[in-house]
Point group: D3
Chain length 317, copies 6
Amino acid sequence: MDVVTLGETMMLFTPDNPGPMRYADRFSNRVAGAESNVAIGLARLGFQSGWISRLGDDEFGKKINAFIRGEGVDTSQVILDETADTGLFFKEKLAPGEWRVKYYRQGSAASRLKPGDVDESYIAEANYLHVTGITPALSDSCYETVLTAIDYARAHGVNVVFDPNLRRKLWPDHKARKVLTELVQKADIVLPGIEEAEFLFGNGTPEELARTFREKGASTVILKLGGTGAYYLNNAAEGYAEGFEVPEVVDPVGAGDGFSAGVLSGLLDGLDMKDAVQRGNAVGAMVVMAPGDVEGLPEKDRLVDFITNRNQSDVER
Amino acid sequence: MDVVTLGETMMLFTPDNPGPMRYADRFSNRVAGAESNVAIGLARLGFQSGWISRLGDDEFGKKINAFIRGEGVDTSQVILDETADTGLFFKEKLAPGEWRVKYYRQGSAASRLKPGDVDESYIAEANYLHVTGITPALSDSCYETVLTAIDYARAHGVNVVFDPNLRRKLWPDHKARKVLTELVQKADIVLPGIEEAEFLFGNGTPEELARTFREKGASTVILKLGGTGAYYLNNAAEGYAEGFEVPEVVDPVGAGDGFSAGVLSGLLDGLDMKDAVQRGNAVGAMVVMAPGDVEGLPEKDRLVDFITNRNQSDVER
Amino acid sequence: MDVVTLGETMMLFTPDNPGPMRYADRFSNRVAGAESNVAIGLARLGFQSGWISRLGDDEFGKKINAFIRGEGVDTSQVILDETADTGLFFKEKLAPGEWRVKYYRQGSAASRLKPGDVDESYIAEANYLHVTGITPALSDSCYETVLTAIDYARAHGVNVVFDPNLRRKLWPDHKARKVLTELVQKADIVLPGIEEAEFLFGNGTPEELARTFREKGASTVILKLGGTGAYYLNNAAEGYAEGFEVPEVVDPVGAGDGFSAGVLSGLLDGLDMKDAVQRGNAVGAMVVMAPGDVEGLPEKDRLVDFITNRNQSDVER
Amino acid sequence: MDVVTLGETMMLFTPDNPGPMRYADRFSNRVAGAESNVAIGLARLGFQSGWISRLGDDEFGKKINAFIRGEGVDTSQVILDETADTGLFFKEKLAPGEWRVKYYRQGSAASRLKPGDVDESYIAEANYLHVTGITPALSDSCYETVLTAIDYARAHGVNVVFDPNLRRKLWPDHKARKVLTELVQKADIVLPGIEEAEFLFGNGTPEELARTFREKGASTVILKLGGTGAYYLNNAAEGYAEGFEVPEVVDPVGAGDGFSAGVLSGLLDGLDMKDAVQRGNAVGAMVVMAPGDVEGLPEKDRLVDFITNRNQSDVER
Amino acid sequence: MDVVTLGETMMLFTPDNPGPMRYADRFSNRVAGAESNVAIGLARLGFQSGWISRLGDDEFGKKINAFIRGEGVDTSQVILDETADTGLFFKEKLAPGEWRVKYYRQGSAASRLKPGDVDESYIAEANYLHVTGITPALSDSCYETVLTAIDYARAHGVNVVFDPNLRRKLWPDHKARKVLTELVQKADIVLPGIEEAEFLFGNGTPEELARTFREKGASTVILKLGGTGAYYLNNAAEGYAEGFEVPEVVDPVGAGDGFSAGVLSGLLDGLDMKDAVQRGNAVGAMVVMAPGDVEGLPEKDRLVDFITNRNQSDVER
Amino acid sequence: MDVVTLGETMMLFTPDNPGPMRYADRFSNRVAGAESNVAIGLARLGFQSGWISRLGDDEFGKKINAFIRGEGVDTSQVILDETADTGLFFKEKLAPGEWRVKYYRQGSAASRLKPGDVDESYIAEANYLHVTGITPALSDSCYETVLTAIDYARAHGVNVVFDPNLRRKLWPDHKARKVLTELVQKADIVLPGIEEAEFLFGNGTPEELARTFREKGASTVILKLGGTGAYYLNNAAEGYAEGFEVPEVVDPVGAGDGFSAGVLSGLLDGLDMKDAVQRGNAVGAMVVMAPGDVEGLPEKDRLVDFITNRNQSDVER
């Protein structure tokens, strides 16, 4: 495996019409999960990725499993759990730019992930382990599972990539701050958004915040600055990679996951940090121009075209 | 109020296409609840009915509340609970005649109904209290709530109508048998299906089973025999009311609730038992010829037309 | 023109789901009109047909006009009326086999058809004039228009074909009976259903009823007996043409119009009465096996195939 | 009742796709009526509102009645009329920003509203009577009904709120101008849009036009200036309340009704005129950010959030 | 006929949702063809137009034929070919402004058009023959057919109108350049877009490019400059006609065809070149504000309204 | 691999409504291919199956590949061909029980399968090679490819299973008869339908026909007799396995593929011939009770339930 990731994927239901959901009577469903998005993004770019999770041994679990496997991700580590349900959630578009989410995920199969679900040898053979801050918020055993996976990675020299992915609905702020900081300490690469950085360490410039992450223990920090691009910092390199112009944001969800997939694909291809981050920006931009989390994830040739032909200027300020 | 009822109503999602739900990506939703069906059936026939429940203070709860109120049912006793979700469930049509249900109702708002939610004076002013065997299966506090409502009814001379509505997915058989039998003892009128009767008291003819119900304490027993009709027994009357011929069963769900509404409307109109049960048969037949639980519930004039013009023969065997 | 016809065509709205329309929130629309169905049926079989009518000069009128012209019917005599609306109606499927119709056609453009709208030379050049009993029910001027068209036809030796098409919602029984009888007297060929025949002349066998029609003035009577087939009677021929077996009636509407188109196509092709009526039976059968009024109308080769290969036995009893 | 209102509500059909309706074959339907929108807006904000009307005793009438009752509005005064149809209309989106409406409402049930339909005691117990300029345009008896309701209100000290709601398709300009002016004279509060004000009294600044309304007899004038906000004038107060920024207008219909509901809710809550008008602006803005007339109407907590957090500056020029 | 045109029309399938088509499972279909769009545009403006083509003798061919005939275009010259399929294509909206097309048109019925399919007398009686550069790209026999039609036109003094409509997917650039240039030489009026002009003759100002077209043999050149408008040049007149402001481009496809229809309608109405080109601009603008190729094509009164009321300034620079 | 199969899978489009496709404007698409159905059926029952094919390197090809891989089939041998399109077809339901198919598959990617696409070692490691009579009908190179795969199988002792799957639209009868007979000779197990058997060898009883197959070279023959069941014959066993009662045939397509998957799963599980054939009958019955080709394919536990609980009697006549 080039990249192994770990987390919950749910069935997402969206009403066919915008406005409050009480007026909706038609819904579409999709597969949605931050970590599986990253795995799919990498598979589409030609890399080998694997996804570790639990799903209910029910129709929704089987649908999710088939979808992710169909996208070329290795799902051999996924457990179908007969004793718990697949999580689901509803997403309403209340008004332009105003979304609201309702979960039915308490006690979900994924929330029962436990350290024993992680196969050390599976992690050991990967180049990167990717984890997010959603998983430890789901349950204590999920938290333990993430720690275990990280321990295995570190024991075998596998790079740990951490995306904080703060979800304030899932846990209290103080707990989130404590655990996310702990995970920053254990990560080789962290990919926070600027608001997440400020949530953790208070206000500051990207440079200042990145330095704080480094002081906490992460060797490489890539700070996502929205449409503007990203700032990266490690021992070897430092700078801004500007974002790509997007004529219209069709669906913003999944941009961060696309960014992660882009950056990791760049590193796996041996790009330098600047070009890898630029690739992250490009994938993120392509994702927001299509509906859904994964529809916009590009194949390699479309990605190269996009980077070559779109307006983007890379600056070392 | 002519009839007050009590129970959980959920948001029902059904895939647009038959077959296993993993292949579905479009769903429609409806309001579904046995007790609210009865209340709606009575309102449509021109009676005053009220429904006591808890709903999540969320979009689904508000949708359910508006729908039932729109149908003319008094919802003044419904509590919107900010701390719990509205229950929901999915219904797949796996094959012709083979349905499968999946619940997301654990810890739902309705499962938190508690005795204090029932206003004694509200019950006291009703002619009938209608309860089902679903509610005590939801939680201990739901069980207590049903008992409380029955106590209030009995204290004020309100007739207690009990429909066992056995749901084996919700509780173990022995517990179901124990509680349902307890409720039979407390009821004035019981409306079991023949399979439910056999679940409770073993095999037997309708006459034998009805006698057993009477021995347990119910004064009036109306045993539903599916399309065949129903057998009724009390101190004053006894006999069979044959069912109505139905050219095609479009959707069988809600037939029993329609039956209850029909019988109660007949009793409220002062019909004798035989004619009231016939009316129950008619409403049940009309419900199964339309999709959904409540779409087929008739207004008075359509019901009278139906009884007058359809093939049905009433026999005293 | 081989056949010219005259009448109202409306926009039909049907809810996507069965059951009472109050629960519907999605509707499909189609073009629906008995006379235009006949014209389309003939055009599809390769004949030249023309349709005289008024439509509102609005989007629905333009849709209807384009649809009928697209099917190959001459619409040069259609008037788009700026001062009136195109009629529309809703059709609910209340229960299996139970339909209910609601019209918004009062004062519609077609109800304003007047004698001056009919071009004598257009009628004069036709082989057949086809009219139905719907048109005179719409308004006095519509009634006059039908009489005028018939007068033109008779003056020029054009055969008058009359389909009673009784619509009891549109006029009182006594008026319907009077006007339809008057039109029977003026027709060369009448195509009543058995119920219509009994409405006009009381109960009787097909033979008796056909004789009554002949006594009233129609030279050829073809009595439609539903799936059973039809009975025909004129100076030259008499007998039954049996119907074709239909595995499932998908949508019964339009069967009579298809029957008319089939019979007329047979007569235009020089078939004897028996074979022409058989063709009517075949087209009617094909229409009920497809949704909508015109979807099942066959092209010549499919019709010949159907007659050749399906189970049907023609008997002279 | 806090507010009683009176008027026609129709079934609205909209094609699923934009462009001329002749190309549409799928339609959705909704409940649409200016006065019932106001009643629903008030109910959602926690007030008691009642709606007086006639509907056809048909499926559309029953649907409208159930919908409005479901929203918490008192519909006890609604008459289901067996002799007339529920009005309906179609709304096409011809091009961006270009809408076209087609009515089938002539002779509708609501157009038969008559003075005797209004219960004096029902009006007498209200705080406000809300009427619009649509109703008197429907028929003479509707005009008389509005006058009667106003007379009852004035006799019992109930405040009369009048929204001109000019519909030039429904009556000739000179008649509209005469009747609307008459109603302005009888109203306590008038809520005209700026174009309506100019239609009635010619061009002028908001201040000038408001003064003219006052001279005509209205004691309070609130002049709606579109997205810009509103100008208010009465004995006690005068000024501009600026509008709220809206990122995208999803559906402009219903904004004025939301404005009325917002202002009335503010007055009922004892706000001063400036804050009440600001609340009107806020509700109007929230309505245009959701599809449909009522989907965007807020509950109290969302309204307060919106006013607190959105960009709006209130100026006394 | 006022205008006769010639070319392929296909069945167009578009996924209901944007994004890559692999995620689509619902498609809508429409009729799409540049030349039939022009014919429909002219018919809607009240002119007589005819369309020559081949279609498969299959359901799609019959649908296309009925649709175009329904729009009032003469389809008497259309051949239904039993030995070939109707072409079809799929159109994906990959991202805002990024479309991708996939054809299934190789060996289609239209690609089998041959010189013998063109009736000399049909061309001879027209005022204009309209051809595009798509047809010669389909096959050698299509190329020959276009030449034959042009020869007939020139022999009978019928004006030849040529729209290059470059489709680089259909043939190699060098061949396209050669054939399109040949057709320019044979045309009286050419209607190239600016990119097409540059493809043929290299970069240049509109004036320079127009002169080159004239030198090649076309007597009138109308150069389309997108939203900006158009530049026209012939012996008698020269100048710019500015485009119309469009609030939102709903669907850009069909704009050029609408432009052609507008210009030709103007010339047929005897307008001078400047006003005819302005009319072309107006029709093109109206087409892009509606979905589909033909939905936005205006009737004469809407066109006149649009030209009168919209912002457009006509300048002679 | 337990079973390797080989063949074309296409994108299937079906109109949302029955009737001739010219009236359809909404289509759904699915993945459809006889051989991939078998592979999916086996994967769902827990076996390892692999599918060899070519697909266009386009969106439809990628959709098909992802779907089949998602179902758990090994698609490592699938080639995405940049030079050819994925085949597609349309399926109309003309009337109850009357379907019509239209292909766009000429020159499709799968028709370019060639012997070099088959990896000998991949076949060598399988227990069974499954081929059908569709593939050799697609092209000469497809025919050669099937022969090559069979040669590899026989060289390595892999059992060859052959399902004739006669498609008379794809090739002339004499050629079909010749090639299918040749393949029968090379197969270990043949699974013809009774009509296919009669097409190849003339009329006869199942016993006679089975003997003929054996004489031609197949060691095991399983003759499918529709709902009645199947007759099997080889050296060791002989008899009838009766079919299962099916309350309603929802979609008959895919029954034969399900039968093959069921039989092969039985043989892989070591069942005797009679029980394996019964399992084939069961899977076939389950497939026809769900829409689509693969939706009804059961997992092992549902299959066992079905066999245990349904009415079926196995007789040795």
